[in-house]
Symmetry: C2
Subunit: 714 residues, 2 copies
């Protein structure tokens, strides 16, 4: 990460708004990168000064060329290095000495080629820090600001794309080629990115630095990106709070969802791709919108730029094709939107003004016949729906193609939409140029986006509705929710370095943090065991206590439901002899005699240390549920009370907490309480704790008790 | 369904290969349906005779017109009715009398408008049957055979689309408008359907009739369709077996997945849409390929028409964009394909001939640099992979755009592909016309499809690999698998009409079919209860036995774990008084005293009667699993042994059957056995049994016992 960046001073300004640019390796020869880059700036109408740098030319493309940056008479903001890797260091150092503030490095041959390249990349970073230069790259396709002609790239995919008027979305990408494809696809669908930044190997400027810049840039309304592996999760998390505060969504397509994807991601950028489940949890807790593909970024942006937010998830589809209507309804429900039944009143109102063969159910089907012969009917359901309190969103599918801006009913249509707080847009079937209704431009100019596609428009509406929920939750709180913290408890002495703690050692740590564990004592003789059992009361459980035996059942180190003294004695002998036989070398603290807990609902709380995110909290149902169904939720520590609650809500087995088959509901507050305590514990000791497993944690109608625990230290 | 259709005689031939056509309502007036239809036939170069029928014209569009079909001098194969609903019946009757064999009816105003329309539709069906005419429609957009100029439609969406050379895919649709959009989209992607049939309201010719025709038509290689609700599930099931036999996939996009979708489907076509879970089971057991959207039909067709089938699921991605590679890998894994790790030998072989900065991992990333400067490198991984026994499929993502058919390396590339049994194709990012590599036509002519898209090409490969499995399973069996049947057992007397059976009545039926139930007796006095318990041995369970009390626990009618005579007596009193208090009016058979079963794995087997599919078998994990996780699988009865096995495989909790946490695996054969017996029972008594619930059915390491059961009769 660029440590020298101070967002307050907009340190990336010299990259995105440079007043002057030096092009190293500028050339007259066509198809040379140095020529393509120079022409790209000239063709894009960059208004600042351009200084071609070339040791053996006096003039290039009509501009005065300089042998070296040191010969340039003024201080230059941005250096674009169109030179091979072997010249990069020298050019950067000279640039630094000449007061250049930022640089783009296209050359490859760095961390992507292994050890040698990594060393070269580390040297780039040193030079950047020493000379206070923001370096984008190496191994990137460049940086664009489409509002000021800064076409910092040689890629024809970027330079040859026509620009649309509105440019309010920033886009940063960890994959150059994929980024270029996304840029073109967006432009084809009517969306020109304001910024396009390919961060390449991220020697200096990183993904989150660019997101940060876009969050603080008042003219950028959405900060979007393509991510393979984030290096500054903490920074991204801080930014997400700011973003929610100012209603500027961060939209990220994160790839490497599958194991194979992660494997590829690792070998591709050398970055550390965390497990996808953890990313999912992270996005949920930060309100960052997760795009499933490039097209989600485009359709989400088009919806968000209407400046309206959905008031809820109740959605009505109005269509001229019953088939399309059904399909969109399917999509809506599968992405969590609700195709609600319209009230009798609303249906009757709509029916008044549409033909008998049309349907006023949801989807409202005006039929193909009406679309051809009476397109003006399309306004009838709208007239009624804008006043329906149950309706949040209205999707027009296969809008009348023949309407144009001079169609009187279209003007009325647009007026109704503009006055309404309903979220309204048009989707059309993807048929290339045939897709767009004539009125597309007029509709879009009036805040009614026309989105071509099948899944994406619907998925994007669903994501926007979720975002709106996060946004409202953030703003409707009397006080912005903080991670609850109490004073740090001193358990340092209970956490020896780099080892696995026994159950009793592990539960001792939990108890210090206020988590209830089973009443117990450690016996080293049969008589001690009997004494402890008598004191606790029967039935009891007996378990071997050893830091060397994390899985007690496997070695015969556990006996349940012990009813009296005789059974205590028998159990003591059995466990001792099993352990002596099966793990002769284990260090033994003794045999733990514990209260046998009454039956309750078994859950699991765990912690794992992720290379990207640091300590991560896991919550799930215990027993076979976690083993077979893998029904668990992750959040990055520290977590808030709402994070803890949402982990529970996320489980497929949620209903079990509410009491099924006549059982009482469980104490959800007690679960949240344990999650928050564990979160505080690992934040307090994140340099010492590697993993925690509390399994099972038994929750009752009132209260919760850790029946077993395991801590691994660093 | 057309009862008069005999596929052997290809009764739909007169519809798809008519030698002559009469156009009712033919007109000179532009934009009239009767004019559009006539011109469509003329422009498409239909080679048979065309007879315009119009009471007030002598010549239309240069053809001799006739006042009535009765005036036409020859027998006509096909009548196309471009007339309003009020004239349809008369035209049909006259056609029938004149020997017309088939008809297309465009008019609307039938079942889609309610009762009145339904009556009119029933009359159409009567006329069709009486005069032996195959009627397509009403309320449809028509029928096309693109190989003989039969453009039986007035829809400009269909008539104005250019045709591609290869026309081997048939398509039938229950939604006209959606079908037209799909037809155009397919054509834009290089696929012209051979047949396009919009069945409209299906008064006579139904969806499955058209599928049948396409299955038996030797020139059709794929039978595809868009379905909202099937009316002849049994016919479709029979066809699916034939289709697997001759390797002609049936590909169906079924909409109405969600509840809302089903609701819309019902109101749209008036057809009965079964629950989506049942359709899913039906498609699995028949080998019918389920398309998730229109685009799946297109990309699946392009892959299938290569005449190769994937040998398995191991897939290698070769790309010039690391980002695209990762995304495709994500898609592959999410759809069940495997991005396998390449062996060291294969990696080393590939690495020999690609640059250091490229990656020979899977995805193989040649990088954008190579794509631009050394596109010939793209052949290097192929040379190695065609000889890798671990690789089944190779996907080239972002293929070199500049290669054309004169590129020598491309010819070599194509030769390698053709000689290999690997399944090889190209996918490209969707950027409209920019999407296609120059060599697209050459590649496709050589059996290497180029598919534009993100999800669809990958999903289609996964579906094709599944289809190949079904196909091989069907063909590798020594004998085609039949539903196992035994003689029908007479339980008619145990199934009184239209009622709910008590537990003992229900289990009696199951026992007759060889399903083991708990040992039990019905006591009507305390002493009888004690006698029965003593005979069975302790512990026992006692339950109220009454056809009026299906849920015994709710009324205090169940006592578990009864250990001795005293407890039997107490339980008898408790149950009697609870029932007397809670359900005073219930008919009581007595109190059932049963063996208490040892703990095992609880499963549920159920039967429901579906309006579309008839008896449907359900299997799942019991207890909270079925209630909370809804982890169940459906198949339409009767089921084969493989169907039963696949129901088990489908469960998310499958692992539980293999023994988790040190438990023994369960007796899977015993489960299959019960499923087959239940299947036979409901097939034998499908007119008498409405529902069955065996819950719980307890399965052990060896054996299985029904611990409770409920049968509802018709």
């Amino acid at each position: 990460m660029m440590e020298h960046v101070q967002v307050e001073e907009l340190a990336l300004e010299s990259l995105s708004q440079p007043k002057s640019i030096a092009v190293f390796g500028a050339s007259e020869k066509p198809n040379r990168i140095g020529n393509l880059q120079l022409k790209a700036l000239l063709n894009a109408g960059y208004a600042g000064d351009i200084y071609p740098i070339n040791p053996s030319a006096d003039e290039i493309e009509g501009l005065t060329a300089y042998k070296s940056i040191t010969n340039v008479p003024v201080e230059v903001d941005l250096a674009i290095l169109c030179v091979n890797a072997n010249l990069v260091e020298q050019c950067l150092i000279e640039s630094g000495k000449s007061g250049v503030k930022s640089a783009i490095v296209f050359a490859s041959g760095y961390s992507e080629i292994g050890e040698e390249g990594e060393k070269a990349q580390a040297r780039l970073k040193e030079i950047a820090d020493e000379h206070n230069i923001n370096v984008v790259g190496p191994n990137c396709v460049g940086l664009l600001n489409t509002t000021n002609g800064l076409m910092g790239t040689f890629s024809p995919g970027l330079t040859d794309v026509p620009l649309h008027d509105k440019r309010e979305v920033g886009f940063v990408t960890q994959s150059g080629a994929f980024g270029v494809l996304t840029y073109i696809a967006a432009a084809q669908k009517g969306l020109t990115f304001k910024y396009f930044v390919s961060v390449g190997n991220e020697a200096d400027v990183q993904f989150s630095d660019v997101i940060e810049y876009m969050i603080y840039d008042p003219e950028t309304k959405i900060a979007s990106g393509y991510l393979e592996g984030e290096r500054s999760a903490e920074k991204l998390r801080d930014l997400s709070t700011k973003a929610l505060e100012i209603n500027k969504p961060i939209v990220i397509m994160k790839s490497g969802r599958s194991d194979a994807g992660s494997r590829a991601a690792a070998s591709h950028t050398g970055s550390l791709a965390g497990s996808d489940k953890i990313y999912d949890g992270f996005f949920k807790q930060t309100g960052i919108v997760r795009a499933d593909d490039y097209d989600d970024i485009i359709s989400f942006s088009k919806l968000f730029l209407t400046d309206k937010l959905p008031t809820g998830k109740n959605t009505v589809i109005v269509t001229s094709s019953g088939g399309r209507g059904i399909n969109e309804a399917d999509r809506c429900e599968s992405y969590g939107l609700k195709i609600h039944e319209l009230s009798d009143r609303v249906r009757t109102e709509i029916e008044k003004n549409i033909p008998e063969f049309a349907s006023a159910a949801n989807p409202v089907d005006l039929t193909a016949e009406a679309a051809i012969t009476q397109p003006e009917l399309f306004i009838e359901p709208l007239k009624v729906l804008v006043n329906d309190p149950d309706t949040d969103n209205i999707i027009f599918t296969e809008f009348p193609t023949q309407w144009d801006e001079n169609t009187p009913v279209l003007q009325e249509f647009v007026d109704l939409c503009k006055k309404s707080d309903k979220f309204i847009f048009v989707t059309t079937f993807p048929l290339g140029d045939m897709s767009y209704p004539k009125a597309t431009e007029y509709l879009e100019a009036n805040g009614i986006p026309v989105i071509v596609g099948d899944m994406n428009p619907i998925r994007s509406l669903a994501k926007l509705a979720d975002y709106a929920d996060s946004y409202r939750a953030h703003h409707n709180q009397p006080v912005i929710e903080e991670v609850p913290t109490t004073e740090k408890v001193n358990v340092h002495h209970l956490l020896p370095k780099d080892t696995t703690l026994s159950e009793s050692q592990s539960t001792a740590v939990l108890r210090e943090y206020g988590i209830q564990t089973t009443e117990h004592g450690i016996a080293t003789t049969v008589d001690e065991a009997v004494d402890i059992a008598n004191k606790i009361g029967y039935p009891v459980v007996m378990k071997i206590d050893s830091e060397d035996i994390p899985h007690k059942t496997d070695v015969g180190g556990l006996q349940l439901n012990i009813q009296d003294e005789a059974e205590v004695k028998a159990a003591y002998e059995t466990i001792s002899s099993n352990v002596a036989k099966n793990c002769a070398d284990a260090r033994i603290n003794g045999i733990s005699v514990q209260q046998m807990l009454p039956q309750g609902t078994e859950v699991i709380v765990g912690v794992t240390s992720d290379e990207t995110f640091g300590p991560v909290i896991m919550f799930g149902l215990g027993g076979v549920f976690v083993e077979v169904f893998k029904d668990v939720a992750f959040r990055v520590a520290p977590i808030t009370r709402s994070d803890a609650a949402s982990m529970m809500e996320e489980l497929k087995g949620l209903e079990l907490f509410h009491g099924v088959r006549g059982q009482a509901p469980v104490d959800k507050e007690a679960i949240i309480d344990v999650l928050l305590k564990v979160s505080q514990l690992v934040m307090d000791y994140k340099d010492e704790i590697q993993e925690i497993d509390i399994n099972p944690l038994i929750v009752y109608e009132e209260g919760i008790v850790a029946a077993d625990a395991l801590i691994v230290t660093k």
